[in-house]
Amino acid sequence: MTENAPLYPKNKSPKTLLIGAGGVGCEVLKNLAITGFDNITVIDLDHIELSNLNRQFLFRNKHIGQSKALIATETVKKMNPSAKIIGINDNIKSPQFDVEWFSSFDIVVNALDNLGTYSNIFHHILPLCILLKLSRHVNMMCQAADIPLIETGTAGYTGQTSGITECFECQPKPTEQKVYPVCTIRNTPTALIHCVVWAKDYLFIQLFGGESAKNKEVDMELDQDNQEEMAMMKESQKLKTILECMDSSDFGKMIFDSMFGNNINELLSMEDMWKNRTKPNPIFYNDYYVPNSDNKPSESLDDKEVLSTVETFRLWLSSLEKLKNTYKDNKINGLTFDKDDKDALEFVGCSANLRAIVFGISCQSLFQIKAMAGNIIPAIATTNAIVAGVAVVQASKIISGQLEKCKTVYFAYGGRRPQFMYKEPLLPPNKKCTVCQAFYYTVSINFKLLLSDLIALVSKTLSKEIPERIGEDFSLLEGNRILYDPDFDDNLGKSFEELGIKQNSILTIEPETDLDTVNTIILCIVPSTENSLEIKIKQGNNKIVSNQDIKETKKRIDVDNATNGKRPKESKSTLKSVDEPEFKKAKIISIDIPLDSDETIIIKDD
């Protein structure tokens, strides 16, 4: 038990940003509203589907097809009419949600559920495995804006709620997907999942994918001496030839015979491959095609049942036909596999099952294949309620200034356990974390200016401002794309517009020197119409850290203070304090750059 301090928000209406109005999001929104958070913005891109209704309790049948964020807002407003709740139907990565927008909130709750799959759902108490880029983005924005973030997540029966201090990226995350050897997928499948991966990631993409997706396959570097790999290449080339006959009435037959018949014979000819393996049995179109009949699948197929080979064949044929027609209108971008698209699921499911038949593997129902192909995360209302409840308890603590009482909480399911919840105190940040230990700067950019302007600004100011972090030589990247490094100056004459740098782009500066600290510097881009570049410096990382870290932080702040106002001699730049509350330790470095001019940069000194 703990001392009961009042849990009412100190700040009367903390401005809360909730990302996601799905399973956990619905619960968090309701909990926030009934716990007294009365200024909430909720953002979600999704629309409501029938399979959401078992747990996303703010939605009803009549709302299917409508925006999750808007309907959730409408429903919760009825529970707490005095609360100010704003729903936004958009992607959190959209450019307008930049660092300045994030800064306008007091706390962020990330409820992008369905982030993880978990192969062994039962009897596990570990946090979830898969974390998408989106969560990384939110974490980085919160770091940049210095806003506390609560992460939530569920995977079946297990869940997690984290508080802050240690950031989302401080602990390495497991890789996203299980990887299968390409030869197993293409030549020697032994489990249904291999056939599903083949159908979804190879066949579907080769038939209906966009141009760039198709070409990836060709780019694969193959070992000419390797028989197996050569077979795969031949197969891809053959498929390309067939694809040119898409309008032919024989198209279905050609694909079927090639994929499940001739290619298999081809494989069988490589006798070495089958020395220790069960040989596959090729099947052909005419084995199942009934002349003088429509060969249409039965109307009353049950997704939960394993279909007969003939039914599988017919469903395969009809789904191929439908996908072909959708694809014709969309050839350049192609189709992407979506588990909720009936035609795509039927085609992938039937293709996988037909391949399974060829290789003597047990078939499965479409319902089961959907989970394998679509990374479906089992989800129920109860876990969401628990995770969301814990998250809002933590949020209340943060808002009432009791951060030290926050915990990372894991929910455990099943078994004879002495406790249902496991918790950890918030850990200090990982000093090597490239996200939370980085220095963040906000850069206002007129996108007509050139990259060279930014490089000049960085070397004239930041290199002097924080020499312990950045040397004379540095490279500038956007994600993995190198925009500039000392040996690569091709982009210097290009404008930000030409380089595709937009509002909300995140650039990183990596020094060339081997300094013994994390030396990433992150630039968050906000738009400006001025003929100038402006860097707002927000330093000292106002994050609350554990005792053992305080010394370190103080040292860092001292260094910052030492440079404050100490104008680098070589530079004419101006450092001035700004009174914006959200940038308490902010300084602004600005330079004016005349547009359409070849003049050297004039650094204004006021």
Binding site: S51, N54, T382, A388, G389, V390
Partner: protein, 274 residues
């Protein structure tokens, strides 16, 4: 048993993946007595579920409960709950009691002799991409509330006592007793003193070491009673619903037999007291 319709498969897709079609079918055919519910609101939530509300009876009989598979009781005092639990036992009906007082909640289960299955997944040695599922069958024997609250602790001390029952569990049992003793008219000012009396009495009868619950603990407990936060209810309600699902689907061991929940600490401890 009614068959699962295609509409239901879509609606329940994500949870069928957890407990299978048989589990879902058992759930759809299950009848739970909810002692207090907002019927119309819940109906809107899921129109395929039948919810009937019945007025609270002054006398519960085995006949009255016999239409139900499980009784979930909340919001009543100790003696009333003991009564309902005993009537349920008579009719061979499973009983769960749960409530939250301020920042502290509990769940108690008397599931009679409960049969359940545990699925164990392991990778197939010959084919690591296929999973082998083995199913173990177990039976857990539960006791009724009356017996559980008169458990003999044999003056255990230290870690052994801590593992048997936490101070919070006693405070909850004490408060439940207080609720039925005081006819709903609990005087705030006398709460701490009354709780102390009830707990001392309980400790004597059950051979619990003196002062196992400190006065400070009691003060914290009683002070919180009017200051709960909605999010805490969400957590306890979620756990309760999940346990009901375990009971119905007969998959995994439900709470055996007490869970006590501390909202601020995010503690949800399970104790077996029989």
């Amino acid at each position: 048993m009614t068959e699962i319709s295609n509409e239901q498969v879509s609606r329940y897709d994500r949870q069928i993946r957890l407990w299978g079609f048989d589990g879902q079918q058992r759930i759809l055919n299950f009848v739970i007595l909810k002692s207090k519910c907002i019927v119309s609101e819940l109906k809107g939530f899921n129109p395929t579920v039948n919810i009937i509300s019945v007025p609270q009876e002054s006398e519960y009989t085995a006949q009255f409960f016999s239409d139900y598979d499980l009784v979930v009781a909340s919001n009543s005092g100790m003696s009333e709950q003991v009564k309902i639990n005993n009537v349920c036992r008579e009719a061979n009906i499973k009983f769960i009691s749960a409530n939250i007082f301020g920042l502290y909640g509990y769940i108690f289960c008397d599931l009679l002799d409960h049969d359940y299955k545990v699925e164990k997944k392991s990778a197939d040695e010959n084919n690591p991409d296929e999973q082998k599922i083995t199913v173990e069958e177990h039976t857990e024997t539960y006791v009724n509330l009356e017996r559980s609250v008169s458990h003999d602790y044999n003056n255990l001390t230290g870690r052994k006592m801590k593992r048997s029952a936490s101070p919070l569990l006693f405070m909850i049992q004490g408060y439940l007793k207080l609720k039925s003793d005081s006819d709903g008219s609990l005087d705030k000012n006398l709460l701490v003193e009354k709780m102390k009396d009830i707990l001392n009495d309980l400790f004597k009868k059950s051979n619990v070491i003196e002062n196992y619950v400190s006065e400070e603990d009691i003060k914290m407990f009683t002070e919180s009673i009017d200051s709960g936060i909605g999010a805490g209810n969400s957590v306890l309600g979620g756990i309760l619903a999940q346990e009901v699902i375990k009971v119905i689907s007969r998959k995994n061991l439900p709470i055996s037999n007490w869970l006590v929940y501390d909202v601020l600490e995010s503690d949800a401890m399970v104790y077996r007291v029989d």
